[in-house]
């Protein structure tokens, strides 16, 4: 049988299943008017690299959303390329020894909040990389990349709006098969 195309009644063999690249590890529903949402038990030695998404809820004000590895409040570095939808001007902002990966999501006030980023090696005893993070703050949009310069293995993370609160929505953590 040739993956990824199957037909009704096919038997899924180990070869087929071992070729599945992305696995849903954990789903977390966001509460009402929360200033931060911690997700525990997300990272393990089963996977090296992860995709994290948030969608479906709302943010109370124009805001960016940051991601902090559980228990580590410093040593976040990176750069945001962004711009406003009202002007064709490329802008940038740096994070130098910050308290989180500051720009992994965001929203317009009272509109759908989102977060999306790939984390490379959060459960490894090495620097964690954050790539392809999708920033928004009101009418500004961009992408962020960075690293957390602490060589420690982490098992969880917290999403933190830069201002205001989050209500509802779902955080999903996916692991890329090794």
């Amino acid at each position: 049988m040739a993956f990824p195309t199957f037909t009704a009644g096919d038997i899924l063999t180990a070869t087929d299943m071992n070729a599945v690249g992305l696995w849903l590890i954990k789903t977390q529903t966001v509460g009402t008017a929360v200033a931060s949402v911690a997700v525990t038990g997300a990272f393990s030695s089963t996977y090296d690299n992860y995709l994290i998404t948030l969608s479906g809820g709302t943010g109370s004000t124009d805001q960016a959303i940051g991601l902090q590895l559980t228990g580590s409040t410093t040593a976040y570095h990176g750069f945001l390329n962004y711009g406003a939808s009202t002007a064709a001007t490329a802008l940038g902002a740096n994070v130098n020894n910050g308290t989180s990966f500051t720009f992994v999501g965001g929203n317009n006030a009272n509109q759908m909040a989102h977060a999306s980023c790939q984390l490379f090696g959060p459960n490894l005893a090495s620097y964690t990389k954050c790539y392809n993070a999708a920033y928004q703050n009101g009418t500004a949009y961009g992408h962020f990349a960075g690293e957390h310069r602490v060589a420690t293995a982490y098992t969880g993370f917290t999403l933190i709006p830069g201002a205001g609160t989050l209500t509802g929505g779902t955080i999903r953590v996916y692991g890329y098969r090794k």
Binding site: Q28, T29, V30, G31, T32, A33, V34, A35, S36, V37, A38, V39, T40, S60, T61, D62, Q63, A64, L80, Y82, L91, A93, N137, G138, A140, G162, A163, G164, T165
Partner: protein, 47 residues
């Protein structure tokens, strides 16, 4: 926006810290730090 205005928008008993499926209100110290950060970020958006 001032801290007082921000507190009026988000009274201490109306915002929560969530860990997995458990939510709790903030301690006074946590709330003051959260207010300060929110006010700063609101007043200093990226250019």
């Amino acid at each position: 926006m001032t801290p007082e205005e921000y507190k009026a928008l988000y009274p201490q008993d109306s915002v929560f810290i969530q860990v997995d499926d458990t939510e709790r209100t903030m301690t006074d110290e946590e709330y003051e730090a959260w207010i300060a950060e929110g006010v700063y970020n609101t007043n200093h958006p990226l250019p």
